[in-house]
Structures are given as structure tokens and as C-alpha cells.
Amino acid sequence: MSSVSGSPAFKALEGDDEVIIGLEVHCQLDTRTKLFCGCSTDYRDDGPNTHVCPICLGLPGSLPAVNRKAVEFALKVAKALNCRVLEESEFSRKNYFYPDLNKGFQISQYDKPLAVEGWLRIEGDNGEKTVRITRVHMEEDPGRLVHKGGADRPKYTLVDYNRAGIPLIEMVTEPDIRSPKEARRFLNKLRATLEYLGVFDSEKEGSLRVDANISIQPRGWFEAHGKGMEGRGRTEIKNISSYKGVEKALTFEITRQKNLIRRGQRLETATRHFVETRGVTTASRSKEMEQDYRYFPEPDLVPLRVSDWCERIVLPELPDARHNRFMEEYGCSYNHARTLTGDLRVAEFYEKVAAVDPRIAATWVADTLLGELNYRDMNIAKVSPSHFIELLQMLREDVITDKSAVEVLRVILDQLAEGCQCEAPSTCVARLNLAKTADDGLDAVIEEVTEEHPQAVEDFHNGRKEALNFLVGQVMRKTRGRVDPGDVNRRLHEILSHGGT
């Protein structure tokens, strides 16, 4: 327990506060069909209201029937998040009116969710930490509104029910997160876990939405009291739809709340919206906060009894296990292993190219490739592993220098970014004449350079070591990087010290 006094009169000093964050994450379960009907979930290239049927349109008389695959996916998530699956869970109706809501209620789960009491390990601000998961439940997505004639003052609004009935999983954390950065890390770890499970595709439209609860409390207060201090009400930021958005919204909210606290204002519990384009949160109308959803058990569905089924489910290797294996099997460093396993596609890419030389591959994937991809906002899926293997082989066999390899990589990625067919690395090396210069050629260049810069040679002989660096630089310039600077350094030293051999 904390040493902070329990007196409500306690006033935190500036800098003695801590941030308390809890997240509600909604992810789309990547099933082929919707949660309660047989309509396909892959509507990407199709027109509005083409992936609909009496059930997901909520036509009078239609009934929902639970998609077995969606339950299996949700159970995988529950298990991966170390949750306890309830022996009996049930679907409930969340009643509210909105034009995108086909039935006037959303089928969700309420007081008997699929699973409770789990946890996820993340990289915290002060080392590894555990974020507790309160609950995991399933629900259907409503439709989508399309405003015509400007978003601010639309002339009219159309409804597209292609999304209606898309299965979602909601995961709620305990208020265990202490900074926007931790929130971001939690989401990254969660995303990786879901992708490893094969139940989530982060590339799909609308696949992730986050509601974030945040308050600022005197350090230790929350832990000591299990709730926030009077006058330090929390804000619920609704509907953030990107990972970056979560960090931005929380950072903005901390500043906003701190300013109010500094001015001695009370903070009431409130709902706010994140405006992605402006990076700020804005107050919601109080009406929306007072919403009474009138939950009651969905009478058209029978309770789920799936705890036995969950025990039989075998999970694939998850990020932490893969992290350990990368360190043991490939000799990756802790940090490289973390980077490589943080994204399923990266991990799989690495495993495809590791055979050439696990250590070289680790450095080149984790440090170089990911940096170059990030710079171009490109996905690793675009990169051909066989091309990358070719590049690594040329490096290992000393055909090209590190510098040339980076150049080849950049050329290839640029070609891919423009949507072109990219060259094979060997073709690129030949075209740009990037193959390492043979040693005799190097000697010739060194001779040239030493003749052009006698002063530097003399300086070297007089014990000024930096003269050597100058000469190496000149050689590198003449060879346009096709030689290894280490080799140049060594050879120059030999020639200058002993007159060569």
C-alpha cells in the first residue's frame, strides 16, 4: 500500500501526479462471414448494401444465429489474454436509437461476457509490466453512415449495412496503464497477439477502435483507494480509430486536465470525442452521456457454454514465446528479437531469410529494412524474401559493402513504392557497378591518392593519425563506396608503413 495520506484534503503538488489509463479496445474478428448470418465480411470492392440479408438488415422476423468461427476466434483471444472463460455467458441487447442501427439495438454481451480476469505483459515505462484485462466480449458492428454534401452540414445521409453484423471483440483493461506511450505499447502487443492468433487483420478498414479512460491522480492515490480522488473525475475519450490517435488523444487530454488542475478546477467524469484531424478532444453533448441502454438478455439466442471447448483449443506460438525462441534459436539480441516479433509479418519474413546468416539477417531486417520501410510507409509484405536473401548472401560473401547493400535496398524499395516490378539485387548491383573493387584495383587507387596528397602522407609519417582518415575518405570517394572502409584503412596502413608488399 502507498504511504500517501487518505485524507481528501490532500493536495498533490505539481509533478507528484500520475496518469491513470484504462482502455476499451474493439477489434474486428477476421471471420469469412458475419457474426449472426452467412453474409461475407469481405465487402471492400463492392457497392453499398451488397453484403446484406434479412438477418443483418434486421428485417422483421429474421433471427440471429451465432457464427461458430467467431466464437472460436474470441475464445482464442480470451485464452491468449490469460482470461477465465465463463461457464455460461450470454448475449444481451444494447438498446439505443441511431440511424445506422438496423434493429434499434445492438447484440452485445453485458453482465455475462465470454471471459474475464486476464492479463497481458507489456514493455512498460519502467521495465516489463502486467496490464490486467477485465473482460473480453463479442458484439456486432452496426452499419455505416455516409454523409453527402460535406461532413459538417450534410445535405442528406445514406446508410450502408455492409458492415452491419461484422463480428467485433471488445477487450477492456483495468486502469493499469500509466502513460500514453504505455497505451501505445499495450495496443501494439495486443495487435501482435491477435495477428499471431490469425483472428485479426489490422489492414482492414475499421478493424480497430479504442475508447480510452484517463484521469490524473496524486501519485499512489489510485492504488491506495481503488478509485480516483474526488474532483479528479476521469474522461472517457470515445472512438479513436488509430494507434497513433490513441497516443495523441491521451497526450492532449493529459495537458488539458493538468491545466484545469493547476487552475484549481474540479474535474467531473465526462465523455469527450477525439478529433483526429486536429489532434484534440472535444466535449460531447451531455445527452449522449446519460444514455440508458436498457440491457437485457437476447431472447433469440441461447446461452453459450464454451469453457470446455476453450480448454481444447491449442494456441499457436505467441509473441513472447517467439521472442524467446528467436533469442535461443537464432541468437538474436533481446532488442532485435523484440522488434522482429512485434509484428507477425516481420517475424515471418525474418524466419524466411534467417537461414543465410541469422545475425546478419537480424540486423538487416530489424535495423535497416524496417527503417527504410517506415520511411516509405510501406508494408513488409511487399518485399520479396528471396530478393532479400540474395542481398544478404552478397553481403555475407563480401561481394558488396554494407553501404552498397543499403543503396540496393533503397533502389528496390523505391521501385516497389512506385508500384513497379523491382530488379533482382544482383541485377541492380551489376547495373550500378556496385560490386566490390578487387584488391589490386584498390592498390592502384591508393597509389593515385597518395600521389595526389603528399602532404597527408607526410603528416601520417609524422604521427598524425587523422591524416590516415583523410586518405581513406579520398579513396572511398574515388571508388564511390564499392570498397569496404575497413579494407581501405588496413591496406593504406600497410602500404604507408611498409611500402606495401
Binding site: 422476423g61 438496423n102 434499434g104 439466442l301 441461447v302
Partner: protein, 432 residues
């Protein structure tokens, strides 16, 4: 295969939609004219639920039971009138005008499946489908003098039945006699994966009138306060007939009856308030006013589209589910409901079926039940079977003042066969 020319006059306003030339096929019901209550979805045929709010809605799909009827060759000749969304006991609460009782056109046919009952009683059709949430098949069957049955909950798929109170209602057969009920039930019971509450228990029975040694329980509450003594007396005579046919009559008690009606109304209104939320003007009925905010437009559509009784029940149901009241009403109703079910299982450990009147009175005069509470009270004898999900049938059992009276037989869960046997024995005994 053929066309059924449906030209019978409809002086009682039994139909909302008629199909003058109904196609039919081969099968158990080849060429049999069947009327379908208008809250059952029929592809290409308007389905209004007796409501203005669904005016112009033509479903793109058939309910499971309609598929089954068509597959057995039935001629679906029309959609019958009903209390709006099933909310009523008289078929007066319809946007398409009241249905009249063929036995006396000054009186109501009962409800909410009044159109189906009147269509059968007046001989317009051979059989009909009704739906029963708290007596909506049995009440009009009793008032009109036909046979009507609410099967065990789950035995008939609800897929395509426009929900009023999902956890209570069942589609069931209505006909002039028990063998026809049995035949229709054979067609209707079939597992349907689209209805998660559907059970696999096909009814393949042929009615057997031998009831020797059968134990029939008679709950005292079924002859208590509010039951017309003339109705009580004629039903007792009917029960005596069953005794003469070899059954053993045992009087018993059903204390949970005290709460049954309240539990029923809280449950059905709560579910209805949610079920009917989808009628907001976005997809059905006259389009929303684009000049208004969406919530204003929703309010307007719902105020103008629903009848008075529907608005009343939606508001009461909304209240019962509200935070702070849920525990007091909805949750309490569910526990009362479990008590009713427990009463039934206790009784069914001692007797095979229960018998009593279907309705406490004969058919009301039109407009007689203007006070909603007195109308609600008339459901007291039918709602227990819905709360417990058990099968119940109403068979004609003589007349009072020239108006038909129904004898109700309730059975164990999934013992629809037994209920039909007793009803058949009674029907045969009466005509013998």
C-alpha cells in the same frame, strides 16, 4: 399442382391481404387452403402485423413455416388480421379495422390471431397459422369455436415470425378439428438452425383417443375469481366427459398464478419495446422528413405509425428495462416466471395433463374492453403455458349464450402428442 381460386366473401374482415389465385403443389397439404397470420413473413406478399408502420413492406423472404407449408403443397390464400404486432385479446387493435366473430358479428373473435380464427370458423379456409404469445391462438379459437394449439416453445421455428415477445411466442396450428391440427403440426415441426431456440423434436404422431388411466389435473385457480360461472360449469362438464372416457381427475393448486399475469406483461412489454425499436422510419413506412433532425423524425414516425396500445406497451416496456427499474420489474418477472415453470413441473410429476377453461368468459362485445387492464386480466388462464413454454390446446366445449367456450388442455414440455390425444378423445367423445 394447381391454382386455388380464393373468392369466398369476407364479411368478418378476417383478411388484410387476399390472394385470389393461390398456387399450390404436391404433398401432405396439397391444395389445402391455408391462411397465415399477418405477422409471419411471406415472400412477395405484404406483411403488416396489423400496423400502419409496416404499410407497403413486402418481405423478400419466407418464414420457415411458410417454406414448410409450400413444400407440402398448401395453397396460401392470404394474410389474416390481428391486433397490431399481436398486442391485444380482441383483434380490435388493428390498423385495418376489427375482425368480427362469425358466431356473432357484434362480438370480437378474440385475439390476437382473430383473423385466422374467424377465417377457419366461417369456413373460408381449411386451416390457418396463428401465433401465441400469451394466448393469442387459444383465445380466438375458444371465442370462435375452433381448435387452436400453442406447441411447446422451440418445436416450431420462429424464423420469419415478426417478434412481439420472443421468449414467449410460438407459431401454431388453427383448424376446425383435432386431426387437422395434428396434420398441420406434422408439417410445422422441423428443426431450423436459423432459430437458436429451435429444438429437434419433429411431431410425427397420429391422434389416439384412448385416455384410459390418464391423470388429469384441474388447478383450482382455473375456476376462481373472475371466471364466468357459466363458463366454469360447462368446462367442468367437459372435464367430467374426460373422466367418463377413462381419465382420472385430480384437483390441484397452482399458487404461482398470482404472479403469472404480471410476470407475463412485464416480460412481453420489455421484449416488445426492444423488438419494435427497428421501426424508426429509416427502412419501413413513410420516409423520414429530411428537414428534421434524425431523432425528431424517429419520434414522429413512431408516434404516428404505431397504434395506441402498441405505444402504451412500448413505453411500459421501456420503463421496465430502465436502469434502476430493471431489477424491480424485468428481473423480478423472470424469477416469477421460473416459479410458474416450477409449479408446472411439480404438477406434471403427479398428473399427465392439466385442464381448465381457455378463457374466463365468452367473447366480449365489440368495444367492451375499452379499459386495458380488464383486457389484460382476461389472459390469466392462457399466459401460464407461455411462461413455462409448455404445449396447450383449446378445443370447443359447448356454448354459453350461443357463444363458443373452449376447454384448455396443457401438457408437459414437449408432450404435444399427449395434449393432442386428450383433445382428440374429447372431440370424439362430444360427437359420440
Amino acid at each position: 399442382m394447381g391454382i386455388f381460386a380464393f373468392s369466398a366473401p369476407d364479411p368478418c374482415n378476417a383478411f388484410i391481404t387476399r390472394i385470389p389465385e393461390a398456387e399450390y403443389g404436391d404433398g401432405k397439404l396439397a391444395g389445402v387452403s391455408i391462411a397465415v397470420k399477418d405477422n409471419i413473413s411471406t415472400k412477395g406478399i405484404p406483411t403488416t402485423c396489423g400496423s400502419k408502420i409496416l404499410e407497403g413492406y413486402i418481405p423478400p423472404y419466407d418464414a420457415h413455416v411458410v417454406e414448410l407449408l409450400r413444400a407440402e403443397g398448401a395453397a396460401i390464400v392470404g394474410k389474416t388480421n390481428m391486433d397490431e404486432f399481436g398486442m391485444g385479446t380482441t383483434t380490435e387493435n388493428s390498423a385495418y379495422g376489427p375482425t368480427l366473430n362469425p358466431a356473432d358479428r357484434e362480438r370480437v373473435p378474440g385475439g390476437s390471431s382473430g383473423g385466422s380464427a374467424a377465417a377457419v370458423a366461417s369456413g373460408m379456409v381449411a386451416m390457418a397459422l396463428g401465433t401465441d404469445t400469451g394466448g393469442s391462438i387459444r383465445c380466438p379459437a375458444a371465442f370462435c369455436g375452433i381448435v387452436g394449439m400453442k406447441p411447446t416453445y422451440g418445436r416450431v421455428s420462429r424464423y420469419g415470425l415478426v417478434a412481439y415477445a420472443n421468449s414467449l411466442e410460438q407459431i401454431g396450428p388453427m383448424a376446425a378439428n383435432v386431426p387437422d391440427i395434428s396434420l398441420l403440426l406434422q408439417v410445422l415441426t422441423c428443426h431450423d438452425p436459423r432459430d437458436s431456440t429451435s429444438i429437434t423434436a419433429p411431431y410425427t404422431h397420429t391422434p389416439d383417443p384412448d385416455i384410459h388411466g390418464l391423470k388429469i389435473g384441474v388447478p383450482e385457480e382455473y375456476f376462481g375469481k373472475g371466471v364466468d360461472p357459466r363458463v366454469a360449469s360447462i368446462v367442468w362438464e367437459g372435464i367430467s366427459l374426460l373422466e367418463r372416457l377413462g381419465a382420472e381427475i385430480i384437483t390441484c393448486r397452482m399458487p404461482s398464478m398470482d404472479y403469472a399475469l404480471a410476470a407475463y406483461y412485464v416480460t412481453c412489454m420489455s421484449e416488445a419495446s426492444s423488438n419494435l425499436a427497428r421501426f424508426d422510419g429509416v427502412r419501413y413506412g413513410p420516409p423520414a422528413d429530411p428537414k428534421k433532425q434524425w431523432h425528431e423524425s424517429f419520434q414522429e414516425r413512431r408516434r404516428d405509425g404505431f397504434g395506441k396500445e402498441v405505444r402504451r406497451r412500448v413505453m411500459l416496456g421501456t420503463f421496465a428495462l430502465s436502469s434502476g427499474y430493471y431489477g424491480k420489474y424485468y428481473a423480478k418477472a423472470q424469477s416469477a416466471r421460473r416459479n410458474v415453470a416450477a409449479d408446472f413441473s411439480r404438477l406434471f410429476s403427479e398428473v399427465d395433463v392439466l385442464a381448465g377453461p381457455t378463457m374466463p368468459t365468452i367473447a366480449f362485445r365489440l368495444g367492451e374492453k375499452s379499459d386495458p387492464l380488464s383486457m389484460y386480466l382476461s389472459d390469466i388462464l392462457t399466459v401460464p403455458a407461455n411462461l413455462a413454454g409448455v404445449p396447450a390446446i383449446s378445443v370447443p366445449c359447448g356454448k354459453v349464450d350461443g357463444m363458443p367456450v373452449g376447454l384448455q388442455i396443457m401438457g408437459r414440455w414437449c408432450a404435444d402428442e399427449r395434449v393432442i390425444d386428450v383433445a382428440y378423445a374429447f372431440e370424439e367423445g362430444v360427437s359420440a
